[in-house]
């Protein structure tokens, strides 16, 4: 790493590597997803701004399918940051209901691979699976992917650091967003 010293990602890495330090900013897999889906949603979520889930009858299908491959994967919590599923082969698996939000899911998995490698020095490969669609895809932390995820992480930190939420913009994804009734009002 040869970025300048006040690179927020550099600070993040240093903090995460020190097991005793309070993290400056927790980055979860979900936050990485949200960054790709909607930065405004990420900002709301990072502030704990929540709407009544009981009232929200719409749910976005990004949640992990709990039942698929249950017997073949084991879940681990890592540093209270990321929750990964490890296959018997050692690969990290991310299961998604549909490939509609493929890029956010891929980024989330890339973040896990990056975290394992960068913070914990563990090299792994990933599998992105869509059981309903019988689709699987290998995800590897190539140099290119590493650059991509690092720029996303800088973006996440930058978004969360903002004083005010990113400006409102109509997106197709708003239709199914849990924050809709707060966001557009």
């Amino acid at each position: 790493m040869n970025e300048n010293s006040n690179d927020p990602l550099e600070e993040y890495i240093t903090a995460e590597r020190d097991p005793h330090a309070e993290p400056i900013q927790r980055i979860t897999g979900l936050m990485v997803q949200y960054y790709e889906v909607c930065k405004r949603e990420l900002w709301f979520m990072s502030r704990g701004i929540d709407i009544d889930r009981g009232a929200a009858n719409i749910r976005r299908g990004t949640h992990v399918d709990e039942t698929s491959y249950r017997d073949k994967r084991r879940s681990f919590q890592v540093n209270g940051r990321i929750a990964i599923d490890v296959l018997d082969s050692g690969d990290i698996m991310e299961v998604k209901v549909s490939s509609k939000l493929e890029e956010p899911a891929r980024l989330q998995l890339l973040y896990y691979l990056w975290y394992l490698d960068e913070i914990l020095d563990i090299e792994r490969e990933g599998v992105l699976a869509y059981p309903r669609e019988r689709k699987r895809e290998r995800v590897t932390l190539t140099a290119e992917n590493r650059e991509r995820i690092e720029s996303v992480l800088r973006g996440v930190i930058g978004t969360v650091d903002r004083e005010t939420p990113p400006t409102l913009e109509k997106k197709p994804v708003c239709e199914a967003c849990l924050y809709q009734d707060l966001c557009w009002m």
């Binding site: 701004i49 709407i51 009544d52 009232a55 939420p165 707060l182």
Partner: protein, 330 residues
């Protein structure tokens, strides 16, 4: 969407497994599925124990209690599933910031006057002449934007309400007449009806606020320290023309209510039990009525509008983005 439920009978409220069981003094026990319950209203003499409250608590269902004479007694609010200290801190900060508080109060009054005007405009096209009052309300709405204290804003709102209520006797079919808005106790049928509907609007706002982390006791237009939840009073003022007044006009003018639905007591006028049921029926139907929402591009019910209004305020408090109190657009 979950519904409100009203219990009129006297009886006993308890938990039976995961449902609410109401043992009425005069009849079969009744069971209520808790998942379908938005808010529970007790109008009769109902005893309940902590187990019943526990179930209501677990499902976040508020209970609104009315006394034997229609008077709103208070609410039991379940604890919130997620407390957000941050929201309350920001709410109090906003209250404490003179110009931010004034901004919110101004928006609220402007919306409230807008909604009063919308009702008069409707009747203006139906044979009544309200042009003068409509102009007066317009002027008051403009004036609200230039006031420099919450106190003087309250003065503007009082003037608007006076002018607005002055039209009620023209709108209301005989023999109903408001003559003067009187509160405690209501002196005639129209006052009794309006007081009851205003109390219902208020409880609707209490329930909506309960679904956010906002503190119902810290309002912006009304002073905290009043007996009631001042934030609910604030929001109720925006919705009274939409919910209470329209329901009143409809009930009276379609002759769904007559003087037989009221009884005069020594200390005022009250709805009878039958009358109250008629009013609540119409009120609940109105809450479920939907309008196409331009910003959400879907149909939302009036009840949802109260909720989104509160969300808008919450968002304003937390982010500084504009608060858009509900102004009738339909």
């Amino acid at each position: 969407m979950p519904n409100n439920h009203h219990i009129f009978a006297d009886g006993d409220l308890r938990r039976s497994e995961d449902t609410l069981r109401i043992d009425r003094l005069d009849g079969e026990p009744k069971y209520l599925a808790i998942e379908n319950l938005d808010s529970l209203y007790l109008h009769g003499q109902v005893t309940f124990n902590t187990r019943a409250l526990g179930l209501l608590n677990e499902h976040g269902v508020p209970v609104h209690i009315f006394g034997w004479n229609d008077y709103y007694r208070g609410s039991y609010l379940p604890k919130r599933s997620h407390v957000s200290g941050n929201t309350v801190v920001e709410q109090v900060r906003t209250y404490d910031d003179r110009s931010r508080r004034l901004g919110i109060a101004t928006d609220m009054i402007a919306a409230s006057i807008h909604n009063m005007r919308a009702n008069l405009r409707y009747y203006n096209t139906r044979g009544h002449k309200f042009t003068d009052v409509l102009d007066e309300l317009s002027a008051l709405k403009d004036r609200a934007q230039t006031e420099s204290s919450v106190e003087s804003l309250r003065g503007v709102e009082a003037l608007a309400r006076k002018a607005y209520y002055g039209c009620f006797d023209v709108i209301l079919r005989d023999p109903f007449e408001l003559t003067r808005r009187e509160y405690n106790p209501p002196s005639n049928e129209a006052n009794a009806l309006l007081s009851f509907l205003n109390a219902m609007t208020y409880t609707t706002c209490v329930s909506a606020i309960r679904k956010t982390a906002l503190d119902p006791t810290v309002g912006f237009m009304h002073e905290p320290g009043e007996r009631r939840f001042t934030l609910s009073l604030d929001i109720a003022d925006i919705f009274k023309p939409i919910l209470a007044d329209r329901v009143m006009f409809r009930l009276v003018n379609r002759q769904q209510l007559s003087f037989d639905d009221f009884e005069s007591e020594l200390d005022g006028c009250l709805l009878t039990e039958v009358g109250r049921a008629t009013v609540l029926d119409e009120y609940e139907q109105t809450l479920d009525e939907t309008v196409e929402h331009p910003r959400l591009s879907r149909h939302v019910s009036y009840k949802t509008l109260v909720q989104t209004d509160v969300y808008s305020l919450k968002k304003h408090v937390l982010t500084g983005e504009d608060y858009h109190p509900t102004e009738r657009w339909w």
